[in-house]
Symmetry: C3
Subunit: 335 residues, 3 copies
Amino acid sequence: MSTPTIATLGSHSCLQILKGAKEEGFKTLAVVLPRLEKFYRGFSFIDEIVKINSWSVFPKIEKKLIKKDAILIPHGSFVAYLGENINKNFKVSYFGNRKVLDWEGDRRKQRKWLEAARINVPREFGRGEKIDRPVIVKFYGAQGGKEYFTAHSQEEFQHKIKGFQGRKFIVQEYVIGNPIYIHYFHSLLFKETEIMSVDKRYETNVDSLGRLPLKGQKDIEIEPSFVVVGNIPLALRESMLVEALDMAERLVAASKKLIDKRGIWGPFCLETVVTPDQKFYVIEISCRIVAGTNIFVPYSPYTYFKYGEPMSTGRRIAKEIRIALGQNKLKNVLG
Amino acid sequence: MSTPTIATLGSHSCLQILKGAKEEGFKTLAVVLPRLEKFYRGFSFIDEIVKINSWSVFPKIEKKLIKKDAILIPHGSFVAYLGENINKNFKVSYFGNRKVLDWEGDRRKQRKWLEAARINVPREFGRGEKIDRPVIVKFYGAQGGKEYFTAHSQEEFQHKIKGFQGRKFIVQEYVIGNPIYIHYFHSLLFKETEIMSVDKRYETNVDSLGRLPLKGQKDIEIEPSFVVVGNIPLALRESMLVEALDMAERLVAASKKLIDKRGIWGPFCLETVVTPDQKFYVIEISCRIVAGTNIFVPYSPYTYFKYGEPMSTGRRIAKEIRIALGQNKLKNVLG
Amino acid sequence: MSTPTIATLGSHSCLQILKGAKEEGFKTLAVVLPRLEKFYRGFSFIDEIVKINSWSVFPKIEKKLIKKDAILIPHGSFVAYLGENINKNFKVSYFGNRKVLDWEGDRRKQRKWLEAARINVPREFGRGEKIDRPVIVKFYGAQGGKEYFTAHSQEEFQHKIKGFQGRKFIVQEYVIGNPIYIHYFHSLLFKETEIMSVDKRYETNVDSLGRLPLKGQKDIEIEPSFVVVGNIPLALRESMLVEALDMAERLVAASKKLIDKRGIWGPFCLETVVTPDQKFYVIEISCRIVAGTNIFVPYSPYTYFKYGEPMSTGRRIAKEIRIALGQNKLKNVLG
């Protein structure tokens, strides 16, 4: 077999995925929309650019990718761009367990998974239950926080939800505490979960509200929004790393029972809110590489501890594939 | 010609400029005020310190610098320290286009430039126009955000502006969104614009207001101020990098029409506010290295993608000069 | 003498201390509670794990540590875990001056020290003095900000303090400005103070209050808390580095007069609030490595300037010990 090509969609964390792939000795390929072609051509570690006119025609380039022994690395924009259907059905080799998609995309399944792993979750309000505290309303499907809204009472909720008829959503208690996003990598080959890095999102406009003096907020009625536009690096208090890692290991173990024998592997993320008693409340699982890892190129403190050389999450993925190839176990890490 | 000396004023981003110059094989020199001498002597990569008693006597050391084949690297404190007059007229070699100074210093010209590059700018209020929304009032001349003030109505504006008679200023709509500062480098030699890094400023006291509970803000009337005391690293959402780079390329192209044939080159920065619809509003251009790049020593994710070795903006400048020297094109990058 | 072992307690900044020790050629050892054993076993740079059932039995493993020529590196959890008594009396070699403990732990001595070094401190309210402005109430003993509370009037203070009978505390003016934590290293061997890095803490819930819209804060009465759960990297405005370094040098000089001939050495931290006039108000000294240095593995911009290779504060400690060993001066840096 010739050297395979690591491929992904041109967006989200494509740069670190392909840079890491190149560092691990792979050929690299980005699938891009026409207006992004010029941008991605600017990076010398991307060997090939495949242009498509819209994400919906992705199935048409499948043969091409298969011929190149391409291994697709999914990232946070895969579902948003390709839809659940294409994601589940394309034939190109795919790093990670595709069955996880159902558990990530369905918020009730996600909650079941978290509970099976004995992870704290915020209270969720069922239909008809009276909202008696601050809540955040989230729609199904990863969209980078777009359209999320908060409400502080039953009335406010009912007023605001009117604009979203027919959409699936959950009503979650708004836990007051610090958002912290923990990035992991689970290796099937080494049967080991690693903490890759930790970040905090930079969300517009909610992260600029604090800069408005009181008067600014009184004069204009500002509705907070949660659109992620960047990521800020964090080190987590060391004594909390232990529980951070343990949560992830419990989640991996639970996935082997709930999803299938292999469960979840590769990069994933727990999106937490940390309260003053140092408890993690997990508000979401992302079952692939998240954009919060982008700030940790070439290193995070945690990957430096383990590897002592540049190691992004993108590179870690390629490293796993390279090791699997060397052990003739590539099939094991594809899903 | 002997190895030239890279020189700058002891402040702002002097450390990364001279460290980078040393890494690229240059001799290095810092011009410092007496009270800073001891501090800068602490860094072994600074070969020579020239002490002057006040910035106003800078012209007196010109001959000395010229004799050393010094190339001055301007940074954000040049105009504040030397004044526009000295900046435009000194004879020492200068990296960058000095004609850009007029366009940076005059807020109306700056706006003309941004509009020519089809870049979103916040609404600006002319004299006599009624202020009907939150605004921020900014004075001419880069002072790290000092004296900027906000107002929420015509009355508040008129009350607050009284203390600033005779000063030039603009009244800008206060766009509610996340401040994001994007650092670029335009290479005349390679005809290419690079994204070097992205940061968010840490401004006192405005970035501490959010830590005050409501009660804290009600009891004391706090006026926000915008004095930059630090910088925090950011990764920008990858899908927004494309427009971020495109804006800069349009700005470079516009500069060749508006300013002169060579236009702007070297490091510059777009100071943006990003709204929940992921639009950039540019509130200012800085036409030289900004302090936000200081946190990206030795790397940023973006310089690591391109160079794979330590590459700060300071080093990038020195690298450009070194390459120009090698191609016998030094004159091309001096202005 | 055989290669000594660098040892510390499994928590706080243990990872960077032992990683740095390994990089400088030492054997490494972590003392851990049983539930942390698995976590610390995950790092290959930790040669040995000594498990104890509770921190209070620490004296029982002293002989074992002494036999290994262990040098203990204290960090911010030493006093919290071992208590002042054990800290002052154990016989294992200890990096740093143990006499500093009294000056760190007693807030009145700390203030005397800061004043002797001509460092700005917030106003402090004596018993009986009327509280006429926002204050923060802090208890003795480093606990990562736990239990700190704010008050805005005499009444609020008296109401809130009721729950803390018999505890030692101070009442400090709440200076409105940006918290900035500056990390230093003072070398006895080189008689030199270095700035290692600068961070801002991420405190729950106070750093999430700004994300709540006004309405959120009105409906629920939220009491801010200051529990540190992470750290965010900062670059300090370069012109302020000079005073930042000078403060530390004055503090070191004052320590030689107040504490003993050797004074303070090794890592320490000034916890400051910076007001819009760019003044530092020091609210606390930490006389050992602080967790804010954890985000600067492998580098900070400042250690890169000086060393040009990976240099965390943990590694800097080990480097000092290695040099002392080479110069046959180990005793000089133990206290």
